[in-house]
Symmetry: C2
């Protein structure tokens, strides 16, 4: 048995999220079906750095799996990509130590969120960015973002359904980049809770719209209660951009 | 009754082409359904500059229709876009003379074709460009394209099913633009026959691959027979980019 680590990308719009669910089309089930074909019907379990929700995309998701096959590394990519559906692609394959784990050894992640500010909807962007045709005060949003930086208990910024106990996460970088009519949020942190990026983006958009005061972000964090933060921004704007390992 | 001209864009990937077909989702039927809603159930016929096939996109398709409604022009766009599905958008509306006709008065068109030359498939581009991960000799393709310029009988470059009698068309411009791994073809002409752009692209790609000699384009045109030209390039790379009027 050898352990393989893969970097993959997918267009999330036609998936019911990453994780296997009965009778739903998911990224994990497509990966496992493809590996099963390559292993003559034998089940191969795939482990990812974390789940992504329905409609959420990945530019750099990381997975690992074990295989007894002795295929040269450069053939792995070709074999996998020729069998995978065309909304998933394997970008890199490497052989790793037997104790490597895509989830438990992830040291950090980058997510990006794309907001299309143009007046008219773009039919080519409908699954790939959130259309928000209203003026935003970027300066207030940057001011507000500073309160999110660092280590905090992010209970207010995660879905109330979250079952994880430790809700302390460290955000290392938040950057807002404007390219023409596209506003791009970059979030780099040691980990993110369920819906955390989408709630931070939704809240920052409400700051930019003048509905939430930049300074009140500090209090929202201190409340440790989801109901104090802003709306959850829609899935289509979100991309798991990169996963960091040592 | 007033006549309205609209510039529209659509992502063709979820349509069975532009033209109405029984029990198929088409651009025309979505437009006519939307206008019917705005007209309290009354049928409104929509005329386009021309059809596009299943999977073909438009950045600047032009349509016209007649309406007795006295809505201010700037409200037309808002009303139409709020009712249209999100893979079609109205970009411009103007009131025109009663004798304006989107098809008969079109003086020319621009089509663009996008070829993704990168080694790995891009899941985000799967419906929006043709993935052709092979080396192309752009110089030979440019040489070949010169033979297509000007007025010719394009029988060899249109689907054998074409029922139009006059197959003479004038191509005013062919341009090949390389942007990173994307090769973009621009075709400007007074009109294009059924599948003509896709057959020209397919043929030029075979020239770039060394399968067809640039000089033999002249003979292919002279044969006036579809079987001498190259393959029809796939629909997903093609965009109706602009329609010209006086």
């Amino acid at each position: 048995m050898q352990r393989f680590k893969c970097k993959i990308a997918y267009d999330g719009s036609q998936f019911s999220g990453y994780q296997v669910q009965p009778s739903k089309r998911t990224v994990q089930s497509e990966l496992e079906n493809t590996l099963k074909k390559l292993h003559k019907g034998q089940e191969v379990k795939v482990y990812a750095s974390g789940r992504t929700d329905a409609g959420v995309h990945a530019k750099g998701q990381v997975i690992h799996f074990d295989s007894p096959l002795t295929i040269p590394l450069e053939r792995w990519i070709i074999a996998l990509n020729s069998l995978l559906p065309n909304d998933i692609v394997v970008l890199e394959v490497e052989q790793v130590e037997d104790n490597f784990h895509a989830r438990f050894q992830a040291k950090g992640k980058e997510y990006r969120y794309f907001v299309n500010l143009s007046n008219t909807r773009d039919p080519f962007q409908r699954n790939f960015s959130y259309h928000h045709p209203y003026k935003l005060d970027i300066q207030s949003m940057n001011d507000a973002a500073k309160y999110l930086l660092g280590s905090h208990d992010f209970t207010s910024f995660c879905s109330a359904k979250t079952e994880v106990e430790d809700k302390i996460r460290e955000i290392r970088k938040i950057e807002l980049i404007q390219q023409d009519t596209m506003l791009i949020f970059r979030f780099v942190g040691n980990g993110f809770l369920y819906n955390m990026v989408r709630i931070m983006v939704g809240t920052l958009i409400q700051v930019g719209s003048g509905q939430i005061n930049p300074g009140s972000i500090k209090e929202i964090i201190e409340h440790k209660d989801r109901k104090y933060a802003g709306k959850t921004a829609p899935a289509e704007g979100l991309y798991l951009w990169e996963v960091y390992y040592d």
